[in-house]
Amino acid sequence: MSSAAGSAPWDLFGYFADHRAEVLDLLWAHTWLSVLPVVIGLLVALPIGWLARRYRWAYPPVVSVSGLLYTIPSLALFVVMPTLLGTQILDPLNVVAALTLYTVALLVRVVADGLAAVPEDAVQAATAMGFTRLQRLRTVELPLAVPVIAAGLRVAMVANVSLVAIAATIGIPQLGQLFITGFQLSVTGPYYPPIVLGIVLSVALALLLDRSIVLGARLITPWQRVSAAR
């Protein structure tokens, strides 16, 4: 337990061995705090993005306002969330809500542009086949927009993984705690193991989630593979 590992960067393995349960808890918290906002954010951004596409006049204001959301400093957003939501200050919901806002900010434009990129003849063919507007959206437009939306999702996902770390400053446990711990113990000289471990795990998590989106997008767009194979 108290076998204090060395302080060189590669001692991250020793540090992990000493704090396995704690670090795995942080990793799990980091994972769901990163993923949940992307899921909710996508569900919120889809109708907004569709509206911005459907009504052309709405596109400039909707896209610029949602884009502006992204300029709010995350720390400020975390700090005001309890006031806005009436949540308790140490509630992880504050982080989820703040990161959802950022995801929406990124995805509204992506959804609108993705729908706009659907070939006009495909839309017209669907209309000619008697599809209602909703049927057409669900079976033609959205599937064809998947590659563009997935690209945006990847950006939002990876951005969230790094943004979550900031929530350590408001007492929400996740991998960011490792940076704070490492910094606190960097008094007599830099103490790398928890910091490097936090970076390694964050990067690995970001890569894993990014790959999952790519795979997921490929699974629901089988025709892309067919056309690529030809």
Binding site: M1, S2, A4, S7, D18, H19, L75, A76, V79, P82, Q88, I89, L90, D91, I166, A168, T169, I170, G171, P173, G176, Q177, F179, I180, T181, G182, F183, Q184, L185, S186, V187, T188, P190, Y191, Y192, I195
Partner: protein, 319 residues
């Protein structure tokens, strides 16, 4: 307080590099004291740069108190952190000349630094005390934590900090070892039925103390969750008041000042006696320990010898 939060966050090597880098540009303005915004005339302090947590600049026992009580006004104040890596490193490498550091900091002895005496009691007593939500403060929980407070001494704090900060041992292990040494690790049912979430501030000593409370209560049958390293008082205090956490190790003086800005008590007894009155009804302090971790103005041995400093009052003299 966001700046303190932000500094804590920046963690890691990037920050340490930045720290070294800004030392180069900072030292030029630090030297002559001509960058002084509120110069203190020809005193020793006017030639020196003080570093401390951001709020030290405005709090009653900070920069204003130094001026009022001792007539000491430093050439410059630099916002760093609350006795953390920024402050310690800045003092160690000469980017600041004096620092607001906590008396139980093992770096003081490790660097042979000088703690300036505080004859006028500018800094109030800061005894370690468990701050608990009133509804969780049952007799059983009280008895367990009071037994911990009865054994905890200032020397213990310094030694615990040394193990965690200098030797980088795991705070939970260090806490368990201390409890065993004090014979406080016996299992029992004193706190059976209690169900508490214990929090801690974001510095090592507080984390170790929270671990001590947690393990002592667990040994006596309480169900305990921990949420450690929460942040500064501005973050965890609302958490304590809204019931997110139930118990946290606190320090009497700052606690009193947090709830009563006008407080004037300085001695351990007076500060502790003033607390129940100042605290909101949903918070209770248990018995305080003799262990104390208070603010101090600390200078390097070289600075102390160069100017002949032993007390804060000496800073107001001519160089």
């Amino acid at each position: 307080m966001n700046r303190r939060i932000a500094t804590a966050l920046t963690g890691g090597t990037a920050l340490l590099t930045a720290l070294t880098a800004c030392g180069e540009s900072g030292s030029s303005s630090a030297g002559g004291g001509e960058s002084t915004p509120a110069g203190g005339g020809d005193t020793i302090a006017a030639e020196l740069v003080l570093g401390g947590p951001p709020e030290f600049q405005t709090r009653p026992d900070g920069v204003p108190g130094l001026e009022e009580v001792y007539g000491v006004s430093f050439g410059e104040f630099r916002s760093l952190d609350a006795g953390g890596p920024l402050t310690i490193n800045a003092l160690a490498n000469g980017q600041i000349d004096a620092a607001d550091v906590f008396t139980t900091d093992p770096n003081i002895a490790a660097n042979d630094w000088v703690v300036l005496e505080d004859p006028e009691n500018l800094f109030a007593a800061q005894n370690v005390v468990p701050l608990i939500s009133t509804e969780e403060a049952t007799d059983g929980v009280g008895a367990v934590l009071n037994a911990v407070s009865a054994e905890l001494t200032t020397e213990d704090l310094i030694s615990l900090n040394e193990q965690v900060i200098i030797d980088r041992q795991d705070p939970a292990a260090v806490a368990g070892q201390w409890l065993a040494e004090q014979g406080l690790d016996a299992t029992g049912t004193q706190a059976a039925g209690a169900d508490l979430t214990i929090g801690s501030a974001n510095f090592p000593e507080n984390i170790t103390l929270a671990n001590i409370y947690a393990q002592a209560l667990q040994a006596q049958g309480a169900t305990v969750q921990t949420q450690l390293n929460i942040g500064s008082r501005e973050v965890y205090m609302p958490g304590l008041q809204d019931g997110s956490i139930d118990l946290i190790p606190e320090y009497t003086g700052v606690l009193l000042e947090y709830f009563d800005e006008e407080a004037t008590a300085v001695s351990s007894e007076d500060v502790y006696a003033a607390l129940p009155e100042a605290l909101p009804e949903n918070l209770t302090v248990l018995e305080q320990s003799e262990a104390e971790d208070k603010d101090a103005i600390v200078v390097t041995r070289e600075t102390a010898e160069e100017y002949g400093l032993t007390s804060i009052a000496d800073l107001a003299e001519q160089p």
